[in-house]
Amino acid sequence: MKLELRGITKRFPGVVANEGIDLVVQPGEILGLLGENGAGKSTLMNVLYGLYAPDEGEILIDEAPVRFGGPGDAIAAGIGMVHQHFMLVPVFTVTENIMLGVEETNGPMGALDRRAARARIVEISERHGLKVDPDALVEDLPVGVRQRVEILKTLYRRSDVLILDEPSAVLTPQETEELVAVMRSLVEGGTSIVFITHKLNEVLEVADRITVLRRGRVVGTTTPAETTREELATMMVGREVDLVVDKVPAKPAEPVLELRDLVVLDERGHPAVNGLSLTVHAGEIVAIAGVNGNGQSELVEAITGLRDVDNGEVRINGRVFENDPRAVYAAGVAHIPEDRMEDGLIGDFTVADNMVLTSYWRAPFSSGLRLNGDAIVESATELVDQFDVRTPSIFNAVGNLSGGNQQKVIAAREFSRPLELIVASQPTRGLDVGSIEYIHGRIVEKRNEGTAVLIVSTELEEVIALGDRVAVMFQGRIVDVLDPSEATFERLGLLMGGAHPEETQPEEAVEMAAAAAAASETDD
């Protein structure tokens, strides 16, 4: 099936989200749709899926114009969409979720024919290597498998065009690889895929053709063979972007954060951090790589005083703070939490209120019980300007801002005071290239000023680009600390998967080490 969009324009009050967009998806190809947050990708896909009616332009399927009054029409026309946020019923099984809306029934009472549905699901999943237990409850499945269920849902509805909205945002590197394999298998079978992303590497790896959107318009279409990361980034952002973090060599000074034999328990009482030791010095960035769920969150919470230390100790400039986040804050520790909207911000509060979320209790923002509104407004006005937060006003709800601007609000709040230590979890998750560049720049700037920085990230690129030292965390321990120059994707990947450090060293080094060991033995 060939899908074509011609001159699609969609306006919202005060803003043109899509303007004259032309797009062609050929049968059996993967089209990468690349653009920053707010470039109009999702609007375009919602038009294609029948959620929005375009103000101008038309949609053609196999050269024939079609009109979608709602998602039902789009599904009937063979378009399937996997949303960034999954649309699944957690307490239903995989089979029930997939058949939901297209239930097959049998018997006079119209009983659900789960068996027939299940058989078809098994057949489809085997054909495309989408391994799923059709009887499992969705709530028990990891995110990667849930996504497979969403893909199965579209295939079950016999979709010829699959729209994947930021599919890798929630996946681990391994899950992303599996997804890519599934996508390849699907296009071999003749399905077309529109792959929405803002990650340059992925689109270069997977797509047959790449269309770049910026500010609601198509800025160009190219193929991976004809372009480079740098070129794509420039197209997306509209100016040249530093993909390599520009930084002078670190000048590590005295230790600021010292972790000794740290043991931290998770909610269930199991040690999530299990005998971890690490030191971060002033003026250096230590980046912790690791697959999600290896104790990183607990580690960060223990450092920032949000979680009890079960054993061992956390010292910040030699002092121990026990479960007192405010004292840790006052000691000059900035914390960028893992999940902006869940932990870092209060969506219904204004930008100004969020700017003082961690400092409202101290002068000049309050005196005694009284909040000092003028001081809060004044400081927020200054910070919005200084950190380039794009918001109509500081009185806007922070939940209405884009992800990049939300992260800037957090950065502004945390970085705008004298700091000793920065602890940042996934500081650029879900951000576009421009915002990543900005946040990275700010972190490096602080490090150059002599702040100690601890980054926790599952993005290997970020870890290597930002870290002056790269530590790999596996099952609650640091398994190895590498120089970024020797931290290749492959080596980090192996360490993150639990391989022994010796196994991952280049062969020569292993031989030399073995020789040295042998030599020392003979010396005895």
Partner: protein
Amino acid sequence: MTDEPREPVPAQPQEPEAAEVPDLTPVDPAAPEAGIPQRRSGVGGTLRGLLLPALALLTAFFVGAFVIVLTDFEIMGMWGSDPGGALGASWSAVVMTYGALLRGSIGDPGQLFSAIVSLDWEALRSALVPLSETIISATPLILTGLSVALAFRVGLFNIGAEGQLYVGSLFAVIVGFSLVGVPWFIHLPLAVGAGFVGGALWGFVPGLLKARTGAHEVIVTIMMNYVAYNLITWALRTELVQREGRSDAISKIVEPTAALVPIVEGLRANWGIVIALAAAVAVWWLVFRSTKGFEFRAVGFNPRAARYAGMSISWSTVMSMVIAGGLAGLAGAAVILGGSRTLSPGFSPGYGFDGIVVALVGNTRPLGVVAAAFLFGALRAGATPMQSATGTPLDLVVIIQALVILFIAAPALVRAIYRIRAERTTGTEVFAKGWGS
């Protein structure tokens, strides 16, 4: 105390997959939660906030008119023989009923005007009686409404205002009759303060249980209502409280020095309203202008982020329930000290439960609560005069009250009726947490 993050407030009505639009989108500036001085016209914002409740009220009265006609058998009988006459009779029945309701709650404008012109004190006094009655009805509703609204702000659903009110009234009565020979400027504040303390105690228990063990405040406060009610019934038969020479459950009479006396001689409206309005100002300041209120609202909107910011969820939970309980306790004190000055079981016609409605109708904002309390107070005050003047049963007022709530609870319905476009807000209403927390 465990400081485990609670489940965040259930998502406010969300727009379907918000459109991904560029950063420069002019988003509705009225959306965010007012915390610090807003650079927008306060009056404009308030007016906009009042539009939907006003329309809900209008619709409720409109539907109520049909109820008046449909329940009048005389008029119903006329439809077959004389439709024109039936229409006229219906109209006059509705006008008379609502007219009587209005005269009973606000007063007769003509009478008021002539009283002012004639400068006759006695005429003026009698013209102001309906308003005075409305004030009396509104006083406890303001306080229980504030109680529920404050807890809502912290994400807690305080169903226990009724019980807190009872315990508050018991404390106030005991202080009221047991101190003898104390000047009023000491005795009255002590009695009123005792009311606050009693309610606060009753709010403290569910707050503490919630913070310590996660026990759901809805269940605990409901049960505390039963405990409170029966505790009062028992206490009223003890030697300490029971009036001498009485065998039924009734307390001794509060000394005149602890009474909330009428503001103006000859009208029943007493200083309780001043306490209620002062409490509204205090709650407003606490919630929107103080550091503790900042914490309350942060915990209410997003407990996880509040915890990350170093706030204590336990402290906010306990403290907000203590203050909420105290406010409901004040309501009990105001009713008793300003009214009969004696306590008997069942003196509250459900002020605590009406407080939930008042808080919701007032959008959990102190000013809104005061307005809603006056609305329901007026309906209550006007009901009896309406019944005696037109024979319309008191129940009509309850029906209208229910209709107002119904239309306010379903803003989409009112918007659809009057074709008002939905505001693009993230929602400033706070809803209590569900059962999952």
